[in-house]
Amino acid sequence: MKDLKYISIKLLELIISMIFISIVIFSLLYLAPGDPARVLLGVKQVSPETLDAIRDQYHLNEPLITQYWIWLSHAVTLDFGDSIRTGESVLATCGPYLIVTLKLVLFSFLLSVILGIGLGTVSAKHKDKLSDKIISNVALVFTSAPSFAVGLLLIFIFGVKLGVLPIYGIGDGGLASDISHLLLPAITLTVAVSALLLRITRSQMLKETASDYVTFMRARAVAPYVITRSKLINASAPILTSMGLLLATLFSATLLVETTFAIPGAGGLLASSVVMKDVPVVQFLTLFLAFFIIVSQMICDFIASKIRR
């Protein structure tokens, strides 16, 4: 019953957030200078009648509120309209790009979780020793460094100097080429975001180390790996919360990393659609990414709250 209430409140919050975001994006795009109908036609010479017909087709002559209402009433049935640039439906236009982005995010999420929790545990175990100091300071540099700067340096080292990994594009779609093409971007993302998880894991593990049950287990000569496992289980709630945050950061950072590695993902599509004023695409992409970010955070928070109790 309590869970049901919790979930329904969260769902309500999600809906309000989505509506709020969509209104902000919608009004921003329509108040901005530039005419979508013109963008649609490119540099072609057209008669005013044709221009009007196109404006009618995309409801561009209606007032803002009516336009928003038309969009919203279609959006709830998962019909997000047609892309102004390609003329195809928004879902068909964005689909392939989103799949690439999701692949990249998932890949680097796995890497970050392994690296962040692993190194965080090691760092806490060797507190104040050299290895801890090195890990903590490197983590500080990595949290501060913007992902695209790290990405460019990695491209230079691995692509230009060593020439061992492909630095642009996504390859032919096979699993091996997928991995080799996504490896550098995924490492870049991992470097940029895993420090967050590392620091939380380290501080939580230190907290657990100071608690009575660890002292007791030590006194009973329980095997060290068993102690570490119990500590990890007990520290998992805050770690899970930060994993939600990590996913959110990943989705933002991937937009920049994709541009750096020339990966045809949602980031590049969003940037170019913003410039071209392709309203339906921008609206859908922003909402889709925001939805993913908010929902993944909610799920992690929910599981974390279950563990805490």
């Binding site: 709020f20 994006i25 795009l29 695209f148 700067a149 460019l152 230009v160 989705f251 940037a271 925001a290």
Partner: protein, 288 residues
């Protein structure tokens, strides 16, 4: 006001204390920031012709023709652009952190001190905005409004402030219930005086630490926008812009990406390190 002055003296002497036991990292960070500051202030002397260079469209390697770091794709000197870029690398982020701090103080205090329906509205607003992907919104807003550097700064202030508001609100709330505030309240001292004289000194350190962190985040976000080609014009000297331009001439002159990349990483690490160090010394837990 007397109390505020005392506070300033107190923080100043604490700064001395900070420097008594400093890790090497703090020294390094201070050196990096000092260097950036010199570049910022004396930029027009150190790199007088950064922005009115001849466009020759030939890329030179480091060392050629007296160009220490070579030239970029348009034949502009990378070293001079790097120095001139300090301006947009520091001024915008500092303005973002400052604006966000001011909004945070105003709304955080209103919300935390008075409570009631205003608190409810402000809290719901921060809940709503904090759940949103800020970089995503910044890209859309900066791209659509397209008003250049200072419009992006404004957008960033709006996107950053909810975090400051929430932070200061909870810091204020923690103080308001304490006996010393109860007693000055009983003395019927004006609310504004209580806030400025009695609560502010206890909130100012946490706000200051966050101010530092916001500068570092601001630097990363602003250079991310200019990296995507939003926010600054192509003629502008900006490290993010330099990275985007240098991407295509990596084989001809690698220094054109390595130099600005390292500049951004160093400055943002230095600011974070100093902020984290101050937080440590004042016993503020930045981890949770």
């Amino acid at each position: 006001m007397e109390n505020l002055q005392n506070l300033q003296i107190k923080t100043r002497s604490s700064v001395y204390k900070l420097l008594a036991h400093r890790p090497v990292l703090v020294y390094l960070s201070a050196a990096v920031l000092l260097c950036a500051l010199v570049w910022l202030i004396f930029g027009s002397i150190l790199a007088p012709h950064a922005l009115d260079q001849d466009i020759t469209l030939t890329t030179l390697s480091p060392g050629d023709d007296g160009h220490i770091l070579g030239t970029d794709g348009l034949g502009r000197d990378v070293w001079q652009l790097l120095i001139a870029g300090t301006r947009s690398a520091l001024i915008g982020p500092v303005l973002i952190a400052l604006g966000s701090l001011i909004l945070g103080l105003i709304f955080g205090f209103i919300s935390g001190y008075f409570g009631g329906p205003l608190d409810w509205i402000i809290s719901r607003y921060t809940d709503l905005t904090l759940a949103m992907p800020s970089l995503l919104l910044a890209i859309v807003a900066a791209g659509v409004i397209g008003g250049g550097y200072y419009v992006s700064v404004l957008v960033m202030i709006i996107l950053y402030s909810p975090f400051d508001i929430r932070l200061i609100r909870s810091a204020v709330r923690a103080e308001v219930t304490k006996p010393y505030i109860e007693s000055v309240k009983v003395m019927k001292i004006a609310s504004l005086t209580i806030m400025a004289r009695h609560i502010l000194p206890n909130v100012v350190v946490i706000a200051l630490v966050n101010f530092f962190l916001n500068i570092a985040y601001g630097l990363v976000s602003m250079s991310a926008l200019s990296y995507l080609g939003l926010g600054v014009s192509p003629a502008h000297a900006d490290w993010g812009r330099q990275l985007a331009d240098g991407k295509n001439i990596m084989y001809e002159n690698a220094a054109s990406i390595i130099a600005p990349a390292i500049a951004i990483i160093l400055v943002s690490t230095a600011i974070n390190a100093l902020g984290g160090y101050i937080a440590d010394r004042f016993g503020i837990d930045t981890e949770s």
